[in-house]
């Protein structure tokens, strides 16, 4: 009896060591960039002061 489609092992891409390292390197860089963005927009909000929030609804 043939194996049902849903029970077949899912084909995945096996990363080489170089690809794995490069992906980790990119992930770390993206995390740092996102953290920096959070800090930047927090600082802009502080520097602009409460006036930034006073706007007509």
């Amino acid at each position: 009896m043939a194996t049902p489609e849903r029970d077949k092992p899912v084909e995945t891409v096996e990363l080489t060591e170089k690809q794995r390292k490069a992906r980790r390197n990119r992930s770390v860089a993206i995390a740092i960039a996102l953290a920096a963005l959070v800090v930047i927009f927090y600082l802009v909000t502080l520097a602009k002061g409460p006036g930034m929030m006073n706007r007509p609804l």
Binding site: V13, Q19, A47
Partner: protein, 315 residues
Amino acid sequence: MSIVEQTSVDAPEVGVSEATAGDFLALLKPRVMSLVVFTALVGLVAAPVPLDPILASISVLAIAVGAGASGALNMWYDADIDRVMSRTARRPVPAGRVQPGEALGFGLFLSLLAVLTLGLAANWLAAAVLAFTIFFYAVVYTMWLKRWTPQNIVIGGAAGAFPPVVGWAAATGSLSLESLILFAIIFLWTPPHFWALALFKAGDYGRAGIPMMPNVAGEASTRRQIFAYTLLVAPIGVLPWLLGYVSAGYGLVAAALGAGFIYYAWGVLRMKPSDTAMAPAKQMFGFSLIYLFGIFAAYLVDVVAARVLASGAFL
């Protein structure tokens, strides 16, 4: 060449990327970016208004990222010609480390982010000028002028000349004659700077089919035009002092640098057609970088010194 042809021809087989963060950083052309940051900073600091150091720093960062984004878009579009030029063959896209689509997405995303950040941190006039600068470099220069006319870097030089205007606009929310003079200095400096490079890299540009001035009009004509533009930029460099924006200290430095620039351009003008080493052109290219950095550094020092003296902070 249309965008569709470019991407379909250049797209290699789909695979898992081996690009590192450093490759993406290289897409931003860090060396060009450093000059952009410096000139934008001068425009920002020269503006006669009080600056919030946090907002000023974030504005400069946004301008730097915007400049980098336009560099990434340039590398995406120019991958085919970068591949055949020795100076650019090792760039991430022609070397195959970053896929063209990745460079395009990266450039577009950073452009949007830089413009929005500058708009929020400074003002929307500065953001609009930054957006126009990115458009001018990526579309007007890279996609249109560069492969079409030997005047490519003359008109395209405007893209590199905008950063001090963006900096000034970020500080004041307006444009002014002072910032336009800084624009004019970079704009008129660009042709002799790039044509000096194009003289000793004419083979590269010829292989890539880029109509640089030496390849189209010949070396003799290029040498004359280099000299003519240098004669124009030298007095414009002194103009901020003549108009009373800065002190005689700046004027002296600008005059000395201008005289040096003309001296090196004279060397290029007198270069013999048989001179294949082209040492005068290489020296002129090196000095052109010193000239621009020197002019803007002198402007920055002069403005800061005048403020310190006026505030009596040194007493």
